[in-house]
Symmetry: D2
Subunit: 353 residues, 4 copies
Amino acid sequence: MRQKIGILGATGMVGQRFIQLLEHHPYFEVAWLAASDKSSGKKYGDAVKWKLDTALPEKIANMTISPAKPEGAPKVIFAALDTDIARELEPLFADAGCAVISNSSAFRMHEDVPLVIPEVNADHLPILEEQASRKKNGGYIVTNPNCSAIGLVMVLKPLVDRFGIDSIFVSTMQAISGAGYPGVPSMDILGNVVPFIKNEEEKMQAETLRLLGSRDGKIVRPLDARMTAHCNRVPVEDGHTESVSIKLTRPATREQILEAWAEFKPLAGRDLPMAPAQPIEFLSQDDRPQPRVDKNRGRGMAASVGRLRPCTLLDWKFTVLSHNTIRGAAGAAILNAELLVSLGKLEPAAVTV
Amino acid sequence: MRQKIGILGATGMVGQRFIQLLEHHPYFEVAWLAASDKSSGKKYGDAVKWKLDTALPEKIANMTISPAKPEGAPKVIFAALDTDIARELEPLFADAGCAVISNSSAFRMHEDVPLVIPEVNADHLPILEEQASRKKNGGYIVTNPNCSAIGLVMVLKPLVDRFGIDSIFVSTMQAISGAGYPGVPSMDILGNVVPFIKNEEEKMQAETLRLLGSRDGKIVRPLDARMTAHCNRVPVEDGHTESVSIKLTRPATREQILEAWAEFKPLAGRDLPMAPAQPIEFLSQDDRPQPRVDKNRGRGMAASVGRLRPCTLLDWKFTVLSHNTIRGAAGAAILNAELLVSLGKLEPAAVTV
Amino acid sequence: MRQKIGILGATGMVGQRFIQLLEHHPYFEVAWLAASDKSSGKKYGDAVKWKLDTALPEKIANMTISPAKPEGAPKVIFAALDTDIARELEPLFADAGCAVISNSSAFRMHEDVPLVIPEVNADHLPILEEQASRKKNGGYIVTNPNCSAIGLVMVLKPLVDRFGIDSIFVSTMQAISGAGYPGVPSMDILGNVVPFIKNEEEKMQAETLRLLGSRDGKIVRPLDARMTAHCNRVPVEDGHTESVSIKLTRPATREQILEAWAEFKPLAGRDLPMAPAQPIEFLSQDDRPQPRVDKNRGRGMAASVGRLRPCTLLDWKFTVLSHNTIRGAAGAAILNAELLVSLGKLEPAAVTV
Amino acid sequence: MRQKIGILGATGMVGQRFIQLLEHHPYFEVAWLAASDKSSGKKYGDAVKWKLDTALPEKIANMTISPAKPEGAPKVIFAALDTDIARELEPLFADAGCAVISNSSAFRMHEDVPLVIPEVNADHLPILEEQASRKKNGGYIVTNPNCSAIGLVMVLKPLVDRFGIDSIFVSTMQAISGAGYPGVPSMDILGNVVPFIKNEEEKMQAETLRLLGSRDGKIVRPLDARMTAHCNRVPVEDGHTESVSIKLTRPATREQILEAWAEFKPLAGRDLPMAPAQPIEFLSQDDRPQPRVDKNRGRGMAASVGRLRPCTLLDWKFTVLSHNTIRGAAGAAILNAELLVSLGKLEPAAVTV
């Protein structure tokens, strides 16, 4: 008996990834799809412009799209909405008693909303108990980070734990799928670089420090480090590549860093379906990771890292890659839900206040 | 009466740019072309795979390619050779009394070889008098920097002069034409990023500090600053884009920085044909500069800069763009030659030891 | 004294090309710009997303965008409107006594609207005298063909004249700029082919036969030939490439075909500024024409053709290339206007009914 | 007990696909790898530049590359060699008693070498009994067609069977992976079309007619139809897209054609692991098939077809797509081998002369 779940924003790029990744999922069954008003009432197969290179499941294609309202929705909702719409809709579902597993940025920085990567800061989850809806009827919102932050944070986490991090410099080369559909016009990006993604640098900086921070009772204190991000769009379909330099608090050798990455398996034993066996994959070749060939490592859920070398300005530099619509969006949300299942906390009904 | 010049490495990507840029040049006339042994003796039009989007000039197409030897070559040589070949051939031409205006990295860091950007460090040129060939018969080698360093250095120079620079962070997104032809296989770069260009980071770091350094008699002292470079290849045809953060020695406001860039016209009055009227063009739009639309500013000779904003780690951050095969290679060498003409120093024959 | 002209649809891709191509035009001066209601009243430089790789002229950037109404507009209008809007607006301007030089498809197939390529069918122009507006106050509409038809028709015209054409097969690979801006989403075309462009095959087939047809008094009879078109979109910025097979009415040798192309100079002597000296450029290399390197031949106004070889199904096959936003749009309209000037017919005021 | 097989040309693009597709194959086990002399003796993982987006299997990475000689090779060889090398090496292996399942063009048109697509012309296989090596010791060569022919032929086969085909027009847009590695330089194809692939049109035309032909005793008579091919390279990673027009011998309605495609399941019942359940997938959307999203249909083994519509020159036109390195190369060879297993003919040892 799989848990019935709903998807808010089911026709968008991230919504499609939810459907793809949940097709044979052992815990969850897609039972409800909602999208914008103009799609509501249509068959999903008629309303969606399916952009993935696996087939749209027949069963999903035949489902009718529901209005984006809590009435009739399942108790567990994966939300893949644009920020403005998320800000309006997600609280409606939480207030109605739903567990809202959100990929949106709308509430990521709210004091009582957990912003979580299961491998990194599962211990931040308890702050959700402070949400008003939670107290009322068990409903809550949990979020995963921005697609540009997630791979970086995974790679930094074991270094924070073992050596401390003082400063972080990152310059990104982000894939077009991160902008959704229709997203980036081809006239803007074919054979080009766009050195700007609206609000991305601010989100990446704030979320990274929050994710690496620690919970102090009912609140999260961000990591006390300095960070700067440059965010660029490049003509790549999937996979965000990032050039990173860091200054550590305590010195570490190359071997110690590689060891920290290799041994980073915080979910070992939990046996979560989406969790990669090796969350951080270090690639020893000179010219890796590369998005075209490495984005699917760990079925799109691993962060790849390579080119570890001394930095002539900070301490170390390296390149990070992660799949922006799997690890950086739909897969991240599903893993959050799996973790909540594993903790016995997913279903709002189970909550007793 | 234009000065007859020769081109070493005439069939390569940079050699082609030399031909294109010199087609109607007021000072120089292409009178001699040399390439590898397998092309020697052929008509240029038959030997070259012309990759530029302007027509190969008829006159050049009909010229016969000479062997790459000083015998019969003009006294002024533009050299666009691979490093290993440059290391062998350029000294032969200098020893034979030629002015070798080189785009190669072979001798850029040699103590007595000027590495010059006319707008930046024309005052480094006198070190060429120390070259053995110069003393013997007037021949010499002058070099221009790596395509990734040149735009950056132009943009940094007025800041060094007015405020001093303590630290430089740069992450590049470099065009494929920088790797020559056949260069980067399409299987490696279409829809991809390659986070590695052999020796590029080392060259970029060392050359930047040398270019921004100062001449002390017969030698150049590099700028006393710390710098780190991340070099990446992206699927762009021409134009290197760079994300830059800097720490200044003395504080500067946004207005002061913009003023420093706007007023940077060190060649004003010299009236050199290749020199851009505005060497540094600041673009005020959020999402610029971009290689596809901005690379040709100043006929490919200007450095574009945009997105000036505070850096949360160092002081300021911004994006730099320059055309890698014009400003970053052939155009840079031609401008070096124009400067030498303007100083009355180009022709080796004029030297009396 | 240059003729003052206006541009309808000035902020779009074709509108931008009009501005670029008219910057130093000897006959015409851009004196009026109109665009959609949301741009009206703004400075052009603020309203446009300039996508070309030459700078937006300062003077144009400072012009204020007018409402798209005939009041206050010059008597000569270059129109670069979407079909639906063109259908509504172009007659308003013609009725108000303007010469409307249109790039839109709205009226191309109307019985009394000339669809003209100056090198091909200048003799179709007199049908414009049948237009109601012409009879009323001199105003009229003249159109140029679809960007996919124009290069093909130029290459076919001398063959029709010398040998007759019975059948035409064409399969296109069209650039993204043909779809305007924002146009094709990058998610649809990066590393992809889209084998469909709405209405393009129908337009290409009908227009080609009309352009190659002959005027019979007040009407144009299409060429009596059979034609089929397959239209595809590919990830190329500018330049439509077309694979063509034809069956001739009378046999021709390879030499005769090459001669027909080489000798095709129907505008020789007219000295029109946009007209290419060699309208059809044959390229003898195996692998040409290619959009990236050949689109700018004849300053973007020549049709390139290559790979002439026997067809095992029809008679001959070859590849055609032309620049879709210069020869295929803005440049085509400007050349139409130049031809009208040369015929003394451009200015509606000159007409006496 | 899986059959041990060897791979000739194991480090190339097609060799890598063999390894990827055979990783979990129920019939075959990769037991021997050979490549060029410079790789011989190295570990495969050190010698290969792995370009696929799935991980190189650990076991294969550790295998040592053998010299490309029959001594010590298994009795079943998958060959992915360049034509010139195939011409020399494949007969050596056949003469040594090996079954050579070849992807090369070297012997495809030889009178006694079967050129086979299992769904199309399995009945051509018996001509292999005429091979000298076969008679001597059981060794033989079987080939699969060119990557551009295979999807087309699959789509045409049921139409030939039901309606007959008189004429075929095809214009291809082929992916870069078809040229191997390093293959097409990025400077040639980024944002470009190359309207030429050496010998491709000749191979595509001859192979298509041979594949659709019929065996007459010991020889194959090609289909009596006329065909012309235009072959183009486009910036797509995998998947050849083809615009096709055909003239049928007997008229067919749209419904009859769709039915012929839907019912085409000639391998049904054989249960071959690589065989797609639906060899021809018809896509009803306007703008499909597209290489990026449809190439993996039937795990890369199906031919996709769409846009069926009347042709104004021949009878019908449509678009065909197939994966060029799976269905068009490695997967095709593996399916040939599976068919031979199913027929009890794969292992040369089984042959009694």
